[in-house]
Amino acid sequence: MMIAGRCGTINLKKLLQIISYQENLDTEGFVLKETMDEQQKTGKEDQGQAAADNKQKTGEEEQKTGADVRKEDGKVEQQAGKDGQKQVSGGGDEGAAGQNNKRRSRRSFRKPVPSSGTSAQKDAGDGRISASLEENRRVIARLYGLPENKDVIIRDFTINTVPPVRSFAVFIDGLTDKIIQDLLFQALMAFAGQASPPGGEKLVDLVKDRLLPGNQIMVTASFREFLDGVNYGGTALFLEGCGKVLLVETKGWEHRTVDRPQSEQTVNGPQEAFTETLRTNTALLRKLLKSEQLSTELLTVGSRIKTFVAVMYLRDLANPALVDEVKRRIEGIKVDYLADSGILEQFIEDHPYNLNPTVLATERPDRVASKIIEGKVAILVDGSPFILVVPSTMYEQLHTGEEVYRRWQFGTYIRYLRTLTFLASFLLPGLYISLVLFHHEMLPTELLLAIAGNRERVPFPSIMEVLMMEFALEFIREAGLRVPGIMGTTIGIVGALILGQAAVEANIVSPILVILVAVTGLASFAIPYYSLAFTTRIYRFIYIALGATLGFFGISIGLFIQVLLTSNLKSFGVPYLVPTGPRTSAGADVVTRLPVFFHESRPDYVNPQDATRAPKVSRTWLKRDRGERR
């Protein structure tokens, strides 16, 4: 084209052809459906063996391979080029283009051959394991897409019995623990030494009972269970002449070790956090709650990829109705893949349209343990370090758990401080804007004159000023999170300082506002639950709008509606604002944190099976002391 340009022999059509959009089918090799309509349309066309449409980019992900396709594509491209010219000459008329498209749609797509995988999966559902090793090997190859799928290893060996038994092991490289596997193979290949092994089913029992040292062994005849086991890091042993498979637990994939909490840091109390491994997380909880009453029920969610979801509770405490409800909701989720507990939270929460979160997510095992001991239910999702606790109240979401570890005076002080930060985090800018716009009489004269004097040089209306500063803060917040590594914290501080300072010096905002926005930001960071902090972040903008339109009256409209909406919330049958709205027996730990020896009962809103936590006198030594003195 460059050459053409230099030669000066370029004609308009060619130029237009250069600049008009052409699908490069050569590199993509396939095209995607873009909208729902297109998908439906193409679906119909597919059914009717209709031609695919170039512009609508019909096609399947799995394309025909081979040179003939290339050739065909090449033809299509030529055709598309011509069409492009026509389209342009037609003035980009949609109708014309559509006609062109229809006419052009010469390329017909075969419906993709059902891949071996899908049919194999169909087999796997009710497939039984055969006694023949070769037959099993063939099925496995079909199931896992061998030999293309390089993750799955099939290891042939013979068991060292007196007539040796041919067998093979199946496992996925990287998911298993090599040391354990070495042990297994050693035991079978070197030390077995058993004479005259029985055939058929009994062979499995022999291997399982006498030969194999694995700590968890499951015997199954179903390919479905075999697949689930191997996919989850197990090693499967197939034995010659035996219709069953041995699944040995050899999980040993790479994972993050137990670390300090990242988002819920505390000074006092345990410093462990959950990790991405389900079993580690259940173990962390069980380590804290050493009780046979602690149940872990495993459910699976996901139709395509199964994700384990564990529901943990104390059998003798948690209300059975609550446990059933939790399980009912989790089992009722129809989704192909559950990636994280955050997604599960959105599936099971009661009020998805309200801003307030009604499920507590935490990464601290000690917090979850303290909730389970109150009779609540913990939901662990495999692969997520955040554990959900239900039911959850707003007061609970404003706790960190740390207040209880500290002496009660300090805990109570922190709680009241947090109440203040909670209110400030969404009300402060709205109050400021309504003061500055509507209620000049409310400020002390000297403060008002100071604000007015500073505002004198600012060229923006106050609402713009506030919004600018608020958004700047939000930018810093978001950027501070995304900036890699150590720079994150630095960016936050530097950004805030420099931005504020420069904005004031440039007379874009008044200094009082910088202070105010900074305080609001701090207040918002002081809210311990990230989701709740998010709630206040959004409410803040609503209050700014209300304050700017109707002043304090607007603020009170907002407060009234917010309280109404929030008090209407429920989390798994428990009102969100309990114990203040509705009033229930408050217990010793809501805002004021009474001394620990007053924590005598569990919160009654959960309706635990046993409401007493401690007897009236928890410090029996006091009594004894008095007795001795007498």
Binding site: L435, P444, F552, F553, S556, I557, L559, F560, L564
Partner: protein
């Protein structure tokens, strides 16, 4: 038949008490000062006695039909025609209270905080709050009042405390003000004109049944009248009774008078928040009361579809009075006497009819 939700006695007491004291944020204390002079506060204990008697009579009636509200009871006792007429009176009372309070609160808001805002906007805002509250139901309203009562009552307490330096006990003398006849006759009848007895009787099933009605009613009335007395005493002590009778919004005037040094003054806008929340609660409650009483009267399964039309009706009625003094006069001249009918007259009539019918039945058998 109507899903109302339910709430505990603690919430019910607070709900009724806040609803009752909402009138003190309006020009109402002014009229009391006019009636009672220096002894304006003495009109309240008399009103309390009447109100307690009213609660008692109502509880007697409700206990006769433990699973019904006053609407169904009236209809059952008086028959479909007369009963419907009486129930329509109750319904229109709720509607009138709601509309007038909406207007008065809107006017108060304009006078105190938003001098340049059109009245329709403030009215719409109040009604929107009321509609939201009534839509979410009495349970949400009860919880909201329970959550906000600390701030409402705490704000009032703070106001009264802040006025202590300016209080002058001598302003309460002469003790009997305009004379016992005025205070305990005219004044007590005026203060006894509450909305809450009939409201509580309509909500009785949501409050946990007729059995709890009496204690809830008594406690709510005691709290409300106690606060009212405290407010009126403080008002009388700080503002001369002649000036008090002049002010449009005595409560606001009181808040403006706070002066605790160079910094702690000018706090009245904070009270704007408190009393607009109280006003919104009151409007939501009366709207809810009107809707539910009409629903029960028409025996409909749900009250929510009626909410929007009634809200609109309330809005239109609230814009009918030509000016603020007129709405104040309507409150005094029509609404206060009107309040006595559903709160006291109809219950007494119901009781009398019930006895008469019982006697005739006994005589018949």
């Amino acid at each position: 038949m109507i899903r109302e939700g339910s709430f505990g006695p603690a919430e019910a007491v607070i709900l009724l008490a806040i609803s009752n004291i909402a009138r003190f944020f309006l020009p109402y204390p002014r009229s009391l000062a006019e009636i009672g002079g220096t002894a304006a506060w003495l009109t309240l204990p008399g009103g309390l006695v009447i109100a307690l008697a009213g609660v008692y009579v109502m509880s007697v009636i409700l206990n006769k039909y433990p699973d019904k509200t006053i609407i169904e009871i009236t209809e059952e006792v008086f028959g479909p025609v007369l009963g419907t007429v009486f129930n329509l009176v109750t319904f229109s009372f709720f509607l009138a209270v709601g509309a007038l309070f909406t207007r008065e609160f809107a006017e108060a808001m304009i006078i105190t905080a938003l001098p340049e805002t059109p009245v329709s906007v403030v009215t719409v805002a109040f009604l929107a709050m009321g509609l939201a509250g009534a839509y979410l139901g009495i349970e949400a309203l009860a919880r909201t009042s329970r959550l906000s009562y600390l701030y409402v009552l705490g704000g009032i307490a703070l106001l009264l405390l802040a006025m202590v330096p300016q209080c002058d006990l001598d302003n309460l003398f002469p003790l009997l003000g305009r004379g016992p006849l005025q205070i305990f006759g005219n004044g007590s009848l005026s203060t006894a004109a509450v909305t809450e007895i009939i409201l509580a009787a309509v909500l009785v099933q949501a409050m946990g049944g007729a059995g709890k009605f009496r204690s809830i009613g008594f406690r709510a009335m005691l709290i409300a009248y106690g606060l009212g007395v405290a407010l009126m005493v403080t008002l009388s002590m700080t503002v001369h009774y002649q000036s008090l009778a002049e002010f449009t919004l005595p409560f606001y005037t009181l808040a403006r008078q706070i002066y605790l040094g160079r910094f702690f003054q000018r706090v009245e806008a904070v009270f704007v928040i408190i009393w607009s929340v109280a006003g919104a609660l009151k409007i939501a409650l009366t709207l809810y009361g009107a809707t539910v009483s009409l629903t029960r009267l028409l025996k409909l399964p749900d009250y929510r579809p009626l909410l929007w039309p009634l809200g609109l009706v309330m809005f239109i009625i609230s814009l009918l009075p030509p000016d603020m003094p007129a709405s104040g006069r309507l409150d005094l001249i029509i609404l206060r006497p009107f309040a006595l009918i559903p709160n006291y007259l109809i219950p007494v009539l119901v009781l009398v009819f019930y006895w008469l019918r019982g006697r005739s039945r006994r005589a018949g058998s």
